[in-house]
Amino acid sequence: MNNLRAIYSIWLRDLIRYRRDKYRLISSLAQPALFLFVFGNGLARGLAIDIQRTGGGSESYVSFIFPGIIGMTLLFTSVFTAVSIVWDREFGFLKEVMVAPISRWSIAVGKALGGSTVALIQGVIVLLLAPFLGLQLSFLTLFALIPLMYLISISLTSMGIVIAVKMETMEGFQMVLNFLVMPIFVLSGAMFPLSNLPGWLHFLTRINPLSYGVDALRGLMLGPSVAEFSLGFDVAILSVFAVIMMFFAVFLFNRS
């Protein structure tokens, strides 16, 4: 009971902080908008890219990258929120939580739920841009997108927590950004199809959890013929990854 309440309070704190931080809200939405309109229009027109559907027909580049941009938003928000643990440690607040009469695992779980909820909200806000891109989403699709986005967010937030617990200082964050977050984004198929890549690159996209997230989002939004794998397969991979990361996060928190 106490632990449930602790999870809820840690979750709530992340949401209050998010609501209060208008700067973060705006800047984190500016990036997806920039990507969508600049790449989606500029790059696509300049290079005349169209994406071939497997069964014939084609998809405009801007609607092709839209699910990828949502994936990017989920990725960045999840990791940033999780890494705020390092700030909490630096500013002493983590101590307040660590001496409370609650289990360590509930801290990790609360943080994972908080970070993923914030990421989900950001993702939904980006999703609201869909009509402006000429994308029509049925109510049923929206209904399926929300849990999928949440699954992607919680697996990425848990990954972020694992990193944050291991990270000693805020300076390490730049490293994480350059060597983990950016490669995950670039190699997720968010911006280009992952077919016809050279072998080693292909391998990297296969071990990238976000590849499956973006693939699932794309399948749901644009139809299965644009996706590489079935929705069930993507969800299965993401779930396994989420469970492993969650387990790691709890394990590391228990030890610290």
Partner: protein, 320 residues
Amino acid sequence: MIEVRDIYKTYGDIEAVRGVDFTVHAGEIFGFLGPNGAGKTTMINILCTLIKPTSGFASLAGHNVVTDAEKVRSSIGIVFQDPSLDERLTAHENLEFHGMIYGVPKVDRRGRISNVLKMVELWDRRNDIVKTFSGGMKRRLEIARGLMHNPRVLFLDEPTLGLDPQTRNRIWEYIRDLRQRENITIFLTTHYMDEAENCDRIAIIDNGKIISLDTPAKLKSMVGGDVITLSTSDNKVAIEEIKKSHSIEALEQDSKIVLEVPDGEGFLAKLVHSISVSIDSISLRRPTLDDVFLKLTGRKMREETMGALDSFKAHVRRRR
């Protein structure tokens, strides 16, 4: 309330705590006094279950701090040496969060929050973001937070470090008031001598060991009465003369003569008459804990000058 038996804590080669024993009674204000790096914070962290002792036994309210950590944590409130508030939340939100993770029932929370906020005179600022608070206000809010869940023991690690004397006095008023009203046990560390005098009992700690433990009055009586300090044109001659006519051992420190006598006022006149060389200055004072520390360790425990780390911390605290 607190039992500590033969606690050791080593970090690699460094022995931070080297065999500490003491007992704190319920309702007592108990102080740990010592210079920076003496092992005070390490000891608090052990009692708060933040770190495990290398060896030895410690219990709090009957719960073992190693095996019963969660029970210990629910019986204590802590005010850390460094701030530990969420500066982006309001004062009220910080307390609400605290109440939730400490399992204070929702029906009680509202009342407790208003009680503690009024006590530390922050009720008017309850909906302000903590970032806008001064160092003293943050400290008071942390004390309020530490009390919210009605702990049986309140730990205060250097509660007034880096604060101005006025705020220090105010915080001490709260602490004394608190003990009277709530009958709570208070365990604090400090390296301010005058602050330590507010305690019922003090353990003087140096190099990870308790070198003396008693009431402030008894500790001071170890010094042997009042302290007279004088400087003369020829200290060596004066010391000889004092020894001859009063058979008292006087010491020379920083080109001043220091001597301890049971009855300072009565002795002053006699002393002046017995010295043939001219006296430049003379002063009489009651012994302070500074004198006790000096007597026990042969070293002074810088009180007035802040260490570099302290002033840095104070700076950080003000800035944030």
